[in-house]
Amino acid sequence: MLRASAAVERVGVPTVSIISSGFLKQAAVVARGLGLPEMAIAEFPGVPMTQSKEELRRQVVELLLPRVIEGLSKPIQRGEPEREVLLPQPEEAVMSGTLDEINDYFHERDWSDGLPIVPPTQERVHRFLQFTERDPREVIGVCPPANREATVWNVAVNGVMAGCRPEYMPILLAIVEIICTPEYKIEDAGSTPGWESLITLSGPLVKALGFNAGQGVMRTGKQANTSVGRFLRLFIRNVAGFTHAPEGADKGSIGQSFLVAMAENEDAVADIGWQPYSVDRGFKAGDNVVTVQSVVAISAPTYSGTESAEEHMKIIADVIGERACGYWTAIGMVYANWHPLIVLGPSIAKVFAKDGWNKDDIRRYLYEHVKMPASRAEHYAWHCGQTGFRVTEAVKLGLLPHAYHESDDPDRLIPVFQRPEWIGIVIAGDWGRNQSKGYVCNHVQGVPTSRKIVLPGNWDALLAASRPKS
């Protein structure tokens, strides 16, 4: 809400922003990033969602009210004007030391993710820059809430640190372009659900760069999948400012670790005559495409053992649809946005294709068959803190389709999947087993966003020179 307060302040009207106790440090980062570090804040004591009505009233009258009055009325004591901080120039060394000394230095400054980093020397950074024709000084975008510039240079620096190979640079640039688009809402990557960004890679680069699309696709272990996934988390920490307790803007209450990059098994896709995920995302088959989206939860491994597409579908609808998505979809309704991703094992996709199903048939089935009572969605939303949400009201505002208000019965059944076309489907994982998994998104925060990967003109020669010599 500080963004709303900043919009008010910018037109000359004073504000006071109510922030509950646990969010004060996040507020400080956001306010600084908005250019209003001295914004008036009124602390709401404790956790409003766990207070009784009486306690809430007492807290508001005795503690919050005086703070609101003070914030609106009392002149703000200006602090010492911030001395101009001389920021390091891109090529300037910030320290010199051994591997251990560098890691200590970076950890102390929250420039790392807790794992050892590869020292970002100029030489290593320049090796990455060879894999792009873009100017290292180019500003790709600005990453809120810290509102720091994402540049070609600092993409390379963080890529080095994460353990990427130089030839991953075109992928890293596409990833950062995605998170810098306003639609991705990277500023909300520190919201309390603790969502993580999932990278999905489609196209010939999967094989060319040695990504794993098969067994254990989402495990750490393969350098390509692992280091690219790590890069994104590191970049979000360093450039967007999402460090966590005790000082940071990352309010993921429990959170989760970074996800390794997922690679699509396009051989399996071609084998059954389907189109790759890149085509679903609006590109041509054969394009190298990276897609990034939020993941807030992952379903149980979903086993379906049958030669019938419909029987597979029933289990997937039950486990991934009803059980995994059926809770958090309530928050998707609040934000009128819901983009879950389903990863089908190759053997299961093959059964669907054999029975004449395509991805749209799967999407339609899920939309039509997975439902929940409207009252339950409101119940889940309220407990999450969305206390102002009503399904019927969202339909009236045009945020949810008419299917969500076909009657006034509070227990009427409404779709768990808002729109069939919003369901992503990727084929990956172990070909020798019959497993699928669902990746639950975080609604409007981290909507699936894709970019075509741009390779430099001399890509083949560069790649040949850079690949490990066996």
Binding site: M1, L2, R3, A4, A7, V8, R10, P14, T15, V16, S20, V30, A31, R32, L34, M39, F44, P48, K53, L56, R57, V60, V61, L65, V68, I69, G71, S73, I76, R78, E82, P88, E92, A93, V94, M95, S96, G97, T98, L99, F106, P119, P120, T121, V139, R148, A150, T151, N154, V157, N158, L234, V239, K251, A336, N337, G385, T387, G388, L399
Partner: protein, 128 residues
């Protein structure tokens, strides 16, 4: 091979090696490393002048429809009205859910609504 390597570093010999590595000047290479962050892309400014007396003033409410604002905004209104005669409120429903699906579009409308309702100050909640 691994077994025989490990057996080289047992007992006294292993202790001596560890002590040497702690107390000897490092022979490891040193690296000159660069900064992994980016330049801040904002200019800081001071908040606006406060409203010394809230009597007869118009207070706007902006809300993200979270964390029981439907309960505490009315309490704030009631208590502020007791203390400041003539105070008026432009309630949060005028602005809509500023953290919802239409966040950007609704925030863009805020300046016009402030002017239309001649709002003197805003209470905004809840969260960063």
């Amino acid at each position: 091979m691994l077994f025989s390597m490990a057996s080289c570093f047992t007992g006294t010999r292993r202790s001596q090696l560890l002590i040497m590595s702690i107390h000897s000047p490092s022979t490891e290479p040193a690296y000159d490393v660069v900064w992994p962050l980016g330049k801040p892309a904002y200019a800081a400014r001071a908040p606006n002048q406060r409203v010394a007396d809230l009597s007869n003033k118009v207070i706007g409410e902006t809300w993200d429809y979270l964390f029981r604002g439907e309960e505490w905004f009315p309490i704030l209104r009631e208590e502020l009205a007791k203390r400041y005669p003539g105070i008026r409120f432009v309630t949060y429903d005028t602005f809509g859910n500023l953290h919802g699906p239409n966040q950007r579009a609704l925030i863009a409308k805020v300046p016009a609504l402030l002017a239309e309702h001649k709002i003197d100050a805003v209470i905004s909640g809840i969260g960063a």
